[in-house]
């Protein structure tokens, strides 16, 4: 079974360029630094979230009732 690593490799401008291209997004070069900055923040949030081991069967991801 694959292991989930809370702290994945930090993205770089080069990896952001590649990932945007793979996602089919053609954006001007000026967008790369701002995307990277936000991706780093998002990656911290993802790491926090992944650090909490929640059994996927213990809660629905598709239904929420406050």
């Amino acid at each position: 079974m694959a292991e989930t690593k809370p702290n994945a490799a930090r993205p770089t401008e080069a990896s952001v360029r590649t990932r945007l291209a793979e996602a089919g997004l053609a954006v001007p070069e000026a967008c790369i630094p701002e995307t990277l900055a936000n991706l780093l923040v998002l990656q911290d949030h993802v790491a926090t979230l992944r650090s909490f081991a929640l059994d996927p069967r213990s809660a629905s991801a598709l239904r929420f009732e406050a």
Binding site: A23, C31, L54, A59, A61, F64, A66
Partner: protein, 448 residues
């Protein structure tokens, strides 16, 4: 009657008994908004013709002996993401200049106008609701009514400023992650984020479907309660109860990163309420989950626009959208799963306590020139972080009411009251207690 000093309820009573003309009332509100300008009033579009036609119709109803409703002739504004018939809903974005005109009013506007209120215009916000400062490259910066060198907060900063500057007694706004609670706190007005899913949001431009809620801002608690009741459109509601409200202060996440100017007043407030504390476990994960959900849903919603013309978006918003597009779906589902999980656990929290409280924002409003705040000892952008205490509550779907702390402070300080889902009545009862005890009060604007 000085209409700027009166509550919506008092103004409506005067219109209904014929001592005040709705046309005069709405005309004065429009004149006031024009006189102080968009940056101060929070309004980016005034609907004078529509408003005056409607106000004159209200006056004719009164003259005919008919009752126009509990908000008869009362002017109000709405954040520019509510559809207004015949207008473009900009959602604070220049990318929507060529969007089609709305074919009808949003449900919330329709409900309020059916109760006699008169929409006089639409208000500024962060682009697509993605921010906490209302510094908008397309529509300008909304200034804090207590100090124009400081931000109003956001995303619904225009709606809070319009109420604080007394252009209107209440505004219609929205809350995704603190969008109305943060500006309420920074501008010194009262704001209600209702329980997720409890208010109809037809005709409201979406941002994050999993979190978006429609809510009001007002200077007077009874006005807020009346507007909320109208927005509920007759839906059944819990009894408010009569027992004393049990308050508790949330610690840990909600006690970290509090600015110096907030810590003393918050401590004094807590002392008066009995020094009871509670923990809301996993709040930092809740904030992270909320951020992931916003990034993913916001990015999905706006992908076509980004593909078409990325440079038409504000740079901070564009960067956040593009980053969201690179988020693995597994992380989004993980965040949603956590949301459902923590909501079940939360129910037990409210067996011991009726109302939990936290700061609504870390401290005073940051400056427009340098909108930053301290977080974990580092200086970070306020645009993306002012909602640190509101975000976990959004994820949990709970209702929250923001009230200004009473005191002689240079700038407003707001607290956030939180109750169990669907228990808004206890929030209103708690807020009334706090106002009556002199612990909370809407501050006057400084005289300049």
């Amino acid at each position: 009657m000085d209409s700027h000093q009166q509550t919506a309820i008092a103004l409506a009573a005067a219109v209904r008994d014929g001592s005040l003309k709705a046309a005069d009332l709405c005309g004065r509100a429009l004149d006031h908004a024009e006189a102080i300008g968009s940056a101060q009033s929070g309004f980016t579009r005034l609907l004078r013709r529509r408003a005056m036609l409607r106000a004159e119709a209200i006056d004719k109803l009164v003259e005919a002996g008919l009752d126009p409703g509990p908000l008869a002739g009362v002017p109000f504004g709405a954040a520019d993401l509510f559809d207004v018939s015949g207008e473009i809903t900009t959602a604070g974005s220049g990318t929507r200049h060529d969007a089609p005109f709305a074919s009808r009013d949003a449900t919330a506007i329709r409900l309020l106008e059916a109760a006699g209120a008169v929409l006089i215009g639409t208000q500024n916000m962060d682009e697509f609701g993605y921010g906490f400062v209302t510094i908008n490259a397309h529509f300008g910066t909304t200034r804090n009514p207590h100090d124009p060198d400081r931000v109003a907060g956001g995303a619904a900063g225009g709606s809070a400023a319009a109420v604080a500057t007394r252009v209107v007694p209440f505004s219609l706004a929205f809350d995704t992650n603190g969008s109305l609670r943060v500006p309420a706190a920074l501008c010194g007005v009262i704001g209600l984020k209702p329980t997720y899913g409890s208010i109809a949001h037809g005709g409201c431009f979406p941002f994050v479907e999993s979190l978006d809620v429609v809510g009001p801002l007002a200077r007077d608690l009874d006005d807020l309660a009346l507007v909320y009741a109208i927005l509920r459109d007759g839906a059944p509601e819990r009894e408010a109860g009569r027992e004393p409200v049990r308050f508790g202060r949330l610690m840990s996440w909600f006690d970290d990163n509090i600015a110096e100017e907030m810590r003393g007043p918050l401590h004094a407030f807590w002392n008066r309420l009995g020094r009871i504390t509670f923990e809301l476990e996993h709040s930092e994960i809740a904030r992270a989950a909320a951020s992931v959900i916003i990034a993913a849903e916001g990015a999905s919603l706006h992908r076509p626009g980004i593909e078409q013309d990325p440079m038409a978006f504000e740079a901070p918003v564009r960067g956040r959208m593009l980053a969201g597009m690179l988020l693995p779906s597994e992380d989004y589902l993980r965040a949603q799963r956590f949301r459902a999980w923590i909501q079940v656990r939360l129910r037990k929290q409210f067996e011991l306590c009726d109302v939990l409280f936290t700061p609504a924002a870390p401290g005073y409003a940051p400056t427009v020139a340098d909108p930053v705040m301290l977080f974990g000892g580092e200086t970070i952008p306020a645009r993306s972080h002012l909602g640190i205490y509101t975000q976990p509550i959004s994820l949990m779907g709970l209702p929250a009411l923001v009230l200004p702390l009473a005191g002689d402070f240079p700038m407003p300080l707001g607290i956030q009251l939180i109750s169990a889902a669907g228990n808004e009545p206890v929030l209103f009862r708690a807020a009334r207690d706090l106002i009556d005890q002199g612990l909370c009060a809407v501050p006057d604007l400084p005289t300049r």
